[in-house]
């Protein structure tokens, strides 16, 4: 990766958001807010009136007739009687009335109350939005008053850094120019997260296998962390390693020739790997030449195992494997191509196998012959047979 090109902009907030305008906007929002508040009060009054009316309508039919003071004109009353206490002429709206009983009237009133409530809720939501706007404007105004400056830096290598203001974060300064960087940044973040998850899973797995592998795990983890920062390059490498692995696979695991082929593929992979990884790989190849078969088998077996465990979702194993491959030069990782293939485990397993499975060579060879006919049921069995790890791994490899 070459050095990232950096472009930077330094913008004073007061230039982006002139203070007077911000204040004006804040005032406008406040005005709207008070409008909504008064509307809300009115609606609440309506609701209160409605409920009291419902109570009255329910009480009236209790008597056959009520003695009341009847309003007469503008300023007079005279005593009178209220009869037909169960008959109500209800306004339906738009100058339409209907004769209804007390119960039916109550129902109508209740329906009106419901619609009022829904209006109140809608108003409340609007007021919330306005309040959020107002608070934002206030914060912007304060920022502008404090003469805060917004600093942005752009990097071209998909790992953009956004050094924000010296003060509170500027909510509203969307940077279209940064949109691309952000997208790639989010992808990187996901990538990193997937890697971490895969690492954790691997760790658990390996810890269950053998404690002695913990050292290797740590080493590999360190490598993983180092490689997590690489983004684009990783994917390219993954594809390359995948191709290499496929080539390896095709040659078949059933024979010890794997040894040689593995060696061949390793240098290829080394070429593909990034610098940091190459020395490691070379070291590995030299150290474990005599254990190539073991490595291969172990790797494949181990890789298969993590796959089974790592079938948590299409992406997690894939992402994990990407890193691992780059590190370990290990084969199969379809990180870039999420497919039904079970991703093979990564360098960790390789290292582990090399160290810890010296004795397992025998196991593998035995299993090899047994496994050959069982290739087809690898995946399902692989996921089930945890105790027989070598076998399942091997199956996965076969795939």
């Amino acid at each position: 990766m070459g050095k990232p090109e950096m472009k930077g902009t330094v913008t004073s907030l007061s230039s982006v958001f002139p203070p007077e305008e911000v204040q004006k906007a804040a005032k406008m929002v406040e005005g709207k807010l008070s409008e909504k508040q008064s509307e809300m009060n009115q609606l609440k009054e309506f609701i209160a009136d409605n409920t009291s009316l419902i109570n009255l309508v329910q009480k009236l039919p209790d008597e056959l007739h009520h003695d009341i003071m009847v309003p007469f004109g503008k300023a007079a009353f005279f005593p009178g009687r209220l009869i037909h206490t169960n008959e109500f002429l209800v306004l339906l709206g738009e100058n339409y009335y209907a004769d209804r009983t007390a119960k039916q009237t109550v129902e109508i009133l209740k329906r009106r109350g419901k619609s009022l409530m829904s209006k109140v809720d809608a108003l409340k939501a609007e007021m919330q939005d306005l309040k959020a706007e107002a608070s934002f404007f206030d914060s912007t105004a304060s920022e502008v008053a404090d003469d805060l400056v917004e600093i942005r830096e752009y990097e071209e290598d998909n790992s953009p850094e956004r050094v924000s203001q010296s003060g509170p974060v500027e909510l509203e300064s969307p940077s279209v120019a940064e949109a691309d960087n952000k997208v790639s940044a989010s992808e990187d973040d996901e990538y990193a997260r997937l890697m971490l998850r895969l690492e954790e899973l691997e760790k658990e797995e390996l810890a269950a296998e053998d404690d002695g592998e913990n050292d290797e795990d740590e080493d590999e983890d360190a490598n993983a962390n180092a490689t997590e920062t690489e983004t684009d390059g990783d994917e390219d490498e993954d594809e390359l390693t995948e191709a290499a692995f496929h080539g390896k696979k095709d040659e078949g695991y059933s024979s010890l020739d794997h040894n040689q082929r593995y060696l061949e593929s390793q240098p290829r992979k080394q070429l593909q790997q990034s610098k940091g990884k190459d020395p490691m790989n070379e070291e590995m190849s030299t150290k474990y030449n005599h254990q190539d078969l073991t490595n291969q088998l172990a790797c494949t077996g181990l890789t298969a195992e993590p796959v089974t465990k790592g079938n948590y979702g299409g992406e997690i194993p894939h992402g994990r494997i990407v890193h691992q491959d780059t590190k370990m030069l290990n084969p199969p990782v379809n990180a870039s191509v999420p497919s039904g293939k079970k991703p093979v485990q990564t360098p960790k397993s390789e290292f582990d196998s090399s160290k810890a499975f010296t004795g397992s060579i025998i196991e593998h060879t035995e299993n090899l012959e047994k496994k050959l006919p069982e290739q087809k049921t690898t995946s399902s069995q692989a996921s089930d047979s945890k105790p027989s790890k070598p076998m399942s791994r091997f199956k996965m490899q076969r795939k």
């Binding site: 709206g93 209907a98 004769d99 329906r111």
Partner: protein, 131 residues
């Protein structure tokens, strides 16, 4: 120099006229908004009435308030009337929408014209200052 100043005055007069037109347009738009609001409320109310009428029994008494007179109406007739009113209101709303768009476009173009005139004035003044 004098010619430029008369030209300047003309431009300013032009600017005033355009500004007046713009304010008129804005008033029209505001009126349009108000009428639209009214119609929308009426439409809502009519829909409510229709709902209630549907809940009534066939023989229920329905009255319509026409001025100071409460006139008894047939349920079917009332239903039909309310529906027709709803249709009418929706048509009115659509018409208003169209005219609102028209007005907004005109306003937009007026604003642009004003801008142009302003720019010309500025260039004139700059020219005058230089000279």
């Amino acid at each position: 120099m004098s010619s430029s100043s008369t030209a300047l005055r003309e431009l300013q007069r032009d600017l005033e006229n355009k500004a007046n037109d713009l304010s008129k347009l804005q008033k029209d738009i505001a009126k349009n908004h108000q009428v639209r609001k009214k119609y929308t409320i009426q439409l809502g109310e009519n829909e409510l009435v229709l709902k209630e009428l549907d809940l009534l029994k066939e023989d229920a008494n329905v009255y319509k308030l026409i001025g100071p007179v409460l006139v008894k109406q047939d349920l079917a007739e009332a239903n039909a009337n309310v529906r027709k009113r709803i249709e009418y209101i929706s048509a009115e709303l659509k018409r208003l929408d169209g005219s609102l768009q028209d007005l907004e476009e005109k306003q937009h173009s007026k604003r642009e014209a004003i801008l142009k005139v302003q720019q010309r004035i500025q260039s004139h003044q700059a020219g005058k200052a230089k000279a």
